[in-house]
């Protein structure tokens, strides 16, 4: 190890853990396809997005190792999400409160 290298040893994820994450992702994919075949109206879109978000969090936490990273990377990810939420929130405020016929 070269001098000045004070980084902690990287966490090695076991093949078993990674395979378990993959199995969860595959199950959630099956679930979202099953839910799509049932008509729940607009809740279909919400359910699909909720499952997609759960899958995304699994990928970020384990496949991308973010669970084991420091506060900096996690904080920056949070910042990116806040930024997107502001974009989406303000756009929909605009769309929701427009006078009819003014699109």
């Amino acid at each position: 190890m070269d001098p000045g290298d004070n980084q902690p040893a990287p966490r090695i994820l076991s093949s078993r853990l990674l395979t378990a994450v993959w199995a969860a992702l595959a199950c959630l994919t099956g679930l979202t396809m099953l839910l799509a075949s049932i008509d729940l109206g607009f809740y279909n879109v919400l359910a699909a997005l909720a499952i997609a978000t759960a899958k995304a969090l699994l990928v970020i936490a384990f496949f991308m190792h973010l669970k084991y990273e420091g506060r900096l990377l996690k904080g920056l990810l949070f910042l990116a999400f806040v930024l997107l939420a502001i974009f989406i929130g303000l756009t929909f405020l605009d769309l929701a409160f427009r006078a009819p016929g003014q699109s």
Binding site: P10, L13, S103
Partner: protein, 199 residues
């Protein structure tokens, strides 16, 4: 010649910053999709029936499986098994390529029915349905381009590994290529329900 000083944490931070910018890039396009879904809800539902959800589901499983092999390749390198790492990377590339083939077949089928960007067929569709297909081609096209770049990048990583330039004690290149590959998988996880499952 002394070993060059490597900054593992810096390399990873740089990659993550790039990934955040990618998230905002796709986020803007998702926002466009959401705004049009809000305006043309029934049309989007009707247009989405023209896409094969089973084919989309198969592609989802292909990508998450490729992501598993990608993650396993890093574990293999970290535990000192470069041969196994190379094999896992080969499987990742193979699955990435089959995703692209699957996508090409899907697009080709649409093209045969006169549905391609800016085609008279798309323009003749009812307003919201044409918008759906324009967004479909823009988003899956940009995503497909990312998969293609990922496949090339993984090819370079495999070459470096083969030549012994990528080793257990400095896996930054493999880690960063993996992060990119997982992000591309992540974006597909949202594209799939939004285009295939809102029928």
């Amino acid at each position: 010649m002394p070993e060059p000083r490597r900054d593992q944490a810096g390399a990873k931070l740089g990659m993550w910053l790039f990934l955040y910018s990618e998230m905002v890039l796709f986020g803007g396009l998702f926002l466009l999709y959401a705004a049009y879904l809000h305006r043309y809800q029934p049309e989007f539902h009707r247009a989405a029936q023209g896409l094969d959800a089973l084919l989309g589901g198969i592609n989802t499983v292909v990508l998450i499986t490729s992501s598993l092999f990608m993650a396993l390749s890093l574990t293999a390198l970290q535990t000192g098994q470069p041969g196994r790492c190379l094999g896992m990377l080969a499987l990742t590339v193979l699955l990435g390529a089959s995703f692209l083939v699957n996508k090409a077949l899907e697009w080709g089928e649409k093209f045969q029915h006169g549905i391609y960007p800016g085609s008279p067929g798309v323009l003749a569709l009812p307003p919201g349905e044409g918008t759906f297909y324009s967004l479909y081609f823009a988003l899956t096209g940009l995503h497909g381009l990312h998969v293609l770049v990922g496949v090339v990048l993984l090819g370079v990583v495999m070459l470096m590994l083969w030549r012994g330039r990528l080793r257990q004690d400095h896996p930054a290149l493999l880690e960063n290529a993996g992060l990119y590959w997982h992000l591309v998988d992540l974006i597909w996880l949202f594209l799939f329900p939004l285009f295939y499952l809102i029928t």
